[in-house]
């Protein structure tokens, strides 16, 4: 009887992105836009106005020819856990339009609830949130390609990466019809993960020791999820946002680019 009432174990979905593998091709960005019904502007080169839930940044080490090095860094929403679900954006939202799910560890964004104050955008240290300055427009006939599982956003609301949450819902539906309440690792994968030709992105449950993300990043849940893999780092680790996206790089300058350091600081 007690077993029946017990909830399924809480998940903590997260991502590990291997920057040594990333070639900067941008397939993750394209796959994300197509999957999540993100419309596009006439001039997509204006990155101040375009909406890119997943965005590839280019890092350079700033050195001259022989030592010059670059690195591409894909940046989805970090789905910060903060301290017990107090992600920077969640704690500032006056409308409770964005919320931390303790069941999946995903930071949600409810477009119909958002009224567009953009406080969350100011709070987010990763620039992962985007404001709809216009209603979305698609070229004629392209509406037919939109995913029915993701609702398009209207003008005046904020949107961001959801770790393809609709895929989780669909995967759960499949599990339910088969009489299960738990998902296999490969049943729920984000669009960018599957699109990456270099297999640089992996996705899974950080609470599940059997999942690749946990085995690679080795998150230390007792200390805010800090990675125990020496090559792993998180963006702006020292802000204490406790993000669920881990990056891997064997290059020290790349790892250091993930946070701010005093000039002569060791780390």
């Amino acid at each position: 009887m007690k077993e029946q009432h017990k909830h399924t174990k809480a998940k903590k979905y997260g991502m590990v992105i291997d920057l040594d593998k990333c070639t900067g091709c941008g397939a993750c960005m394209a796959a994300c836009m197509a999957e999540n019904n993100v419309s596009f502007k006439k001039d997509e080169s204006d990155k101040l106005l375009s909406i890119t839930w997943m965005r590839v940044y280019k890092l350079t080490n700033g050195k001259k020819f022989p030592e010059a090095d670059i690195c591409y860094l894909p940046r989805p929403c970090m789905h910060c856990e903060g301290d017990h679900g107090h992600a920077p954006c969640v704690s500032v939202c006056p409308a409770t339009a964005t919320d931390y799910s303790h069941e999946t560890g995903i930071v949600s964004q409810i477009y119909t609830r958002c009224f567009g104050c953009r406080y969350c955008m100011a709070a987010c240290p990763y620039h992962a949130r985007y404001f709809n300055w216009w209603d979305p427009v698609w070229p004629d006939g392209m509406e037919k390609y939109l995913s029915p599982n993701v609702s398009p956003r209207m003008r005046g609301v904020v949107e961001k990466c959801s770790f393809c949450f609709h895929r989780y819902q669909l995967a759960m539906d499949k599990a339910y019809i088969e009489g299960r309440r738990e998902l296999e690792e490969d049943e729920y994968q984000t669009s960018c993960t599957q699109a990456c030709p270099a297999d640089a992105i992996i996705f899974g449950d950080l609470n599940n020791p059997g999942h690749a993300v946990t085995q690679i990043a080795k998150p230390d849940h007792k200390h805010g999820g800090r990675p125990m893999n020496p090559n792993a780092f998180r963006l702006l680790e020292r802000l204490g946002t406790n993000p669920k996206v881990y990056y891997l790089s064997s290059r020290r300058w790349v790892r250091r680019a993930g946070d701010n350091y005093i000039k002569d600081e060791r780390g």
Binding site: S91, S108, I110, D173, Y176
Partner: protein, 259 residues
Amino acid sequence: MSTLDDKAEETVGQVETTKSPEKDQKKKDQKNGSWGIILIFFVIGLVGSLAVGWWIFPKLLYSQKKQPIDFNHVIHVEAVEEGCESCHFFREDGSFSGVPKLAQCVDCHEEVMGEDPEEFKFVEEYVAKGNEVPWLVYSRQPDCVFFSHVAHVKMGKVDCITCHGHIGESTHSRVYEENRLTGYSRDIWGKNIAGLKKDTWDRMKMDDCAECHAELKAKGKIVQALPWPINWMPRPYEKPASSQVRVHIKKDACFVCHK
């Protein structure tokens, strides 16, 4: 028009003489008379605005649409073996088929089977030409709503009637009423303009989902539930009064039901 004249006279009287006692008396009479008129106009206005609000506006708000084919559920339920699930079934991936596609109807209706002119129309116009029937879906939720049939029907063991009512017992398709402003079916908001509901299937708003979920949660069932009544805005710095708390659970993200 007479009232306007009366009022004009009254103001003139006020300016001319305020000292004469006779005229004072006359003024009082006039005042009593105008109160009556005001009351009449008030009642007319009140009744008028009530009629507009409760009768005319709801009539104007909803357009009346007819289904392309007048569908008889009774005949079909009698003919099939598995009840509702014969036509409204789950796919292997757990998604719900909803309103049947032409392909399922064709299994039986490749040729006209009976003598019903509606069936004749169906075969003639849709089956023969291979066009899908543009059914109007009474229970279509807004785009922002995620609803999992399998979670409710297979896991929660909820029967169809709880939300859809006794639709299986209908011999004709009823009129589909569409909200002209939102484009949603009237079944979502409910037929009763006062917002009263008798049965669980009378309305399909968020409140109605939350009501059932809160009830089950209180009984200890595994369901998602709103931690607060939806009209109460949760803020981190205040705690809900005990009367406002429906269920004591850890709050969870809204996108369990919204997308």
